[in-house]
Symmetry: C2
């Protein structure tokens, strides 16, 4: 294949890193692929690192030493995050989304892969330093956001089910009371899905009173897990007091007025 140009190496390395967030990649790997000196590869990486930093595209961390290499962390800059959240506000505040009973239809947005990826990167950035081992969610609508958070953190996703399944083996189940509608529901987590005493974060799409989140925390305590943080896409202004504390939310749904066809949703700071 002959000698590689720097721009060719940079294109290939950028793709390789982006597909492996939060993963240590050795310099030797690239040196072997390109049959290049480690010093050339190092210089390529400085270029990538600097331009990513300058434009707020992500953080490329280099680790020195024999086991050295580089790690890419997705990074959503402050301006970019604000613009992204504003765009979500704009989409979500569409009165056409109001459903009978004063509910707001958000499913299409939550299942939009590009939205989910960005939300996941924002959550990952927030919780990276806590060094979670697993990302936990509950079916169904939390899954896209949690999957993309798990992708950005390079950690396994664990999905709590609403009933135990024969295809998942023995499970720990819990009945819980939803915080807002006071209904009794069940949630279940297969024993083999999560080792005891794991460090986890919880990701979900929506929090009203926090009954589901509290149920998840309770269920996780049966696994002696440490819940390091909770991230939700949208919470509600009412009730003000939730059943869990210290969670992180990107958006707040203040009001859905069915009569006046008005939705008030704001960024959460």
């Amino acid at each position: 294949m002959g000698k590689w140009r720097r721009s060719e190496r940079v294109a290939v390395m950028t793709k390789y890193l982006l597909e492996r967030p939060n993963t240590l990649v050795s310099l030797n790997h690239f040196a072997a692929v390109f049959k290049a000196a480690k010093s050339s590869i190092s210089e390529d990486i400085s270029i990538m690192r600097d331009v990513f930093q300058k434009l707020g595209l992500g953080r490329i961390e280099t680790q020195a030493g024999a086991g050295g290499g580089l790690i890419y962390h997705p990074h959503v800059g402050k301006q970019e995050a604000l613009a992204f959240i504003d765009e979500l506000v704009h989409r979500m505040a569409d009165p056409g989304r109001i459903l009978p009973g004063g509910f707001l239809y958000l499913t299409d947005i939550i299942f939009d892969a590009r939205v989910a990826q960005k939300v996941g990167e924002i959550f990952a950035q927030r919780f990276l330093e806590l060094d979670p081992q697993y990302v936990v969610t509950i079916e169904t609508k939390g899954i896209p956001l949690a999957l993309m958070t798990a992708r950005a953190l390079n950690r396994p996703l664990v999905v709590i089910r609403d009933a135990s399944r024969v295809t998942e083996g023995s499970a720990v189940s819990l009945n819980y009371v939803t915080g807002s509608s006071r209904q009794i529901r069940a949630m279940s987590l297969p024993r083999r899905a999560l080792p005891m005493e794991s460090r986890v974060i919880i990701i979900d799409d929506f929090m009203k009173a926090g009954g589901t989140a509290k149920g998840m925390v309770d269920l996780l305590s049966e696994f002696k897990a440490s819940v390091l943080g909770i991230g939700v896409l949208v919470d509600t202004g009412v009730p003000e007091k939730k059943l869990v504390s210290g969670y992180y939310s990107l958006l707040r749904l203040v009001e859905v007025n069915e009569q006046e066809k008005k939705v008030v949703i704001i960024p959460n700071n």
Copy 2:
């Protein structure tokens, strides 16, 4: 910011494209970002296109003319796909995965974001030419694979639920009989989730007799949708005849022998 080096531009453009699969990106956009002549940007793009092609990293298509630009299509080369599927076979054939009743625990693999992304890219590649407008799945375990397929195709994901929800408005529901265990179940799709007469593909994790897939096809016919293709990660050798035909499957589960602690799973060609 001064003049950009080619390798800097290539790093930034590679990231931008990878985050927007199957999306037309205009050359003018990059020319403006880098304050560079379109001819320089064109040359950057040729370098990226050629090296991606040479290494089987994806297809960068350029479109000439006023509305011109470029489109990135993820591409999993034949060798890479075979190696990836072999790795899945290896992971799935672990006898430790056998559950009581002869079921095989695959949840952790399906919820592995990196696996889901690669499977999604393989499905996207397979179905791209059919030009689907929507990717459809059914909760729960199909979601990661379908989301990543939708990401690679840049199409919305539509998730059929197992019951209708107040947060999703009026829905079309259907009772169906699972093909293998002959149980009656329900599935439901909100009216607003899918416009009438859409062109769709169906993605799911597993197919035994195909009862669920047939149910999805039937439900989609209520929306007058054209089902262009069906992709599943794993199908089973038995029953040989499925309730739907012409689906595409990556792996075949031939046997789970609880007594002998043996799993036979093979790539599907």
